[in-house]
């Protein structure tokens, strides 16, 4: 089971207020695609798994707040991905920094110094797509930088809300 409601408790690098909002965004995206509570989320790539998804009740106010499709999809994907990072990769989101229109999330061990020995978590969301669009998005994310000396380790998680399906890859 993957319960987005648990995000409201917060994570080491996500406040309860943002966690609640991420869960809301995820719910808006899932219901927009016609899903009901308990819908199976397929996980593929780095691991293979299936979770029953649960999310907070979507109110009209939540829909109004998340009426920007791109922002809702991006943050809804963040909500699901940070939970999957823990269950599928085994690391919590431990740090964050500000980047572009959102946040850059880092996975790892809390004992190390800020951003040291951490892997970046690159997250992307697709509101309505197919296998091809999922693969294309994953490949775009993975190809953003070619592996070379000094490249930071990273995991890529792309959430497609239509099926829904999550692709997890190590970069």
């Amino acid at each position: 089971m993957l319960d987005l409601n648990t995000l409201a408790n917060g994570l080491p690098a996500i406040t309860p207020a943002l966690g609640k909002a991420l869960a809301e965004a995820g719910g808006v995206c899932l219901e927009d695609r016609g899903h009901i509570q308990g819908k199976a989320l397929q996980v593929q790539g780095y691991t293979k798994n299936e979770y029953a998804l649960f999310w907070p009740a979507v109110t009209e106010q939540a829909r109004r707040c998340w009426n920007d499709t791109e922002v809702a999809t991006e943050y809804g994907a963040v909500g699901i991905a940070v939970l999957l990072a823990k269950s599928e990769i085994g690391y919590s989101v431990i740090e964050r920094s500000r980047k572009g229109t959102g946040f850059d999330y880092w996975l790892g061990n809390d004992k190390d110094s800020l951003f040291q020995n951490k892997a970046r978590l690159e997250i992307s969301g697709i509101r309505k797509g197919d296998d091809k669009s999922l693969r294309t998005r994953v490949n775009q994310k993975v190809k953003q930088t070619d592996p070379s000396d000094g490249t930071l380790p990273a995991f890529v998680i792309v959430i497609e809300f239509g099926c829904p399906v999550a692709e997890v890859r190590e970069k």
Binding site: L18, F103, F115
Partner: protein
């Protein structure tokens, strides 16, 4: 937890609150909270010791602070922080992100009016990208967008005057005279020009007749909604299918190609404040804007060939023929209302790539681009 860590966490907590305020429409509160986040992030940077200043910590903190400075509309500080981080030899991908941030900061500068005063019937259009130099631009990139922006404006005028969508023929002379778009001499910023709408004459300025400032406001609103993929709101603003389809097609023509032009900005002045619309969604991203916003996606086919034949006499939809260059196979494509005149016709005799839904012997047109243009996206 050392001071750097503590101040950074404090900054990110404020940044999250700022994000939530913005989502809830509290923009003033969002800027105030972003300011607090920036102050905390700057304290974290100031607390960096020699041992803390290793990468990626140094560059990530600077990039984070620079983004917050941009959130607070402090472009100068954002520029300084970004440059400082780049000078510190950050890891490759952080360096790339810093360069992207630099482009955003510079474009913000270009959107500023720099002493130019805009009247209510004027807006500034700015372009930046590899095909745009300081005050010079590839003529095709510039002229096409000015012409397309004018088409959007004329369609707004027709729609708001309650006219049915004009599938063929020219804009009525009286409307063209009243709302004709004039272009200023280009300014060297990235490349910026003023688009001015002709003022309706006194005798026609009756209640219900569209004011030119309203036309510009509508233009800014629609471009902003399209750039943010707020399709439901776009559909509410343009309920007529033909006008909606036409706007999506024209907005895509205005959008950056992602190569020669990376950003297009529009600036208007209202009540002494400047309003910016910064279009960064590329043409290929606009292709994902579905005309049908509900229900399942149809099965699309894609064909490439020369646009050879256009028949616009079939009521609600016209027919075009796409002839494959090799083998000469011909495909009949139905063009829905709203697309023939402004979007398809300018591509006459060009090699195009058509995407559409197969329906019997026809393909129902969803998207059409010039093949050469698509090649630059690959």
């Amino acid at each position: 937890m050392n001071l750097v860590h503590k101040k950074h966490n404090e900054a990110m907590d404020f940044a999250e609150l700022a994000f939530l305020a913005r989502i809830n429409g509290n923009h003033a509160e969002a800027i105030d909270l972003s300011g607090k986040a920036l102050q905390s992030e700057l304290m974290a940077i100031n607390a960096l010791s020699d041992t803390d200043s290793i990468e990626p910590t140094y560059s990530v903190l600077h990039r984070s602070a620079a983004t917050l400075a941009l959130d607070c509309n402090n472009s100068a500080l954002a520029e300084k922080l970004t440059a400082t981080a780049l000078a510190h030899s950050p890891p490759d991908e952080i360096a790339e992100e810093l360069r992207d941030l630099f482009e955003q900061i510079h474009f913000r500068r270009h959107l500023l009016l720099r002493g130019v005063t805009l009247c209510e019937d004027e807006m500034q259009m700015s372009l930046s990208g590899r095909g745009v130099g300081y005050g010079v631009v590839q003529s095709e990139e510039f002229l096409e967008r000015v012409s397309t922006a004018s088409q959007v404006i004329y369609r707004i005028v027709e729609r708001q005057n309650g006219r049915a969508f004009r599938e063929a023929g020219r804009l009525k002379k009286n409307l063209r005279d009243q709302y004709e778009v004039f272009v200023s001499v280009p300014r060297a910023s990235s490349l910026a020009v003023t688009l001015k709408l002709g003022q309706p004459s006194e005798q026609l300025n009756l209640p219900g007749v569209l004011d030119t400032a309203q036309v510009i406001d509508e233009f800014m609103d629609l471009m902003e909604l399209a750039n943010k993929s707020r399709l439901d709101e776009l559909k509410v603003r343009i309920p007529d299918e033909a006008y909606y389809r036409n706007f999506v097609g024209l907005a895509k023509k205005i959008a950056p190609d992602g190569e020669n032009v990376l950003q297009i900005g529009f600036t208007a002045t209202r009540a002494g404040s400047d309003r910016f619309v910064d279009v960064r969604k590329t043409r290929s991203d606009f292709a994902t804007l579905p005309v049908v916003t509900k229900g399942e996606l149809p099965q699309f086919v894609t064909i490439k060939g020369v646009l050879r034949f256009a028949d616009a006499i079939h009521g609600e939809s016209g027919i075009i023929k796409i002839v494959e260059e090799e083998g000469g196979k011909s495909h009949d494509v139905k063009v829905p209302q709203g697309m023939m005149n402004d979007i398809v016709r300018p591509m006459w005799n060009s090699v195009v790539i058509v995407t559409g839904e197969k329906n019997g012997r026809y393909i129902i047109l969803e998207d059409i681009v010039e093949a050469e243009e698509l090649a630059t996206d690959e």
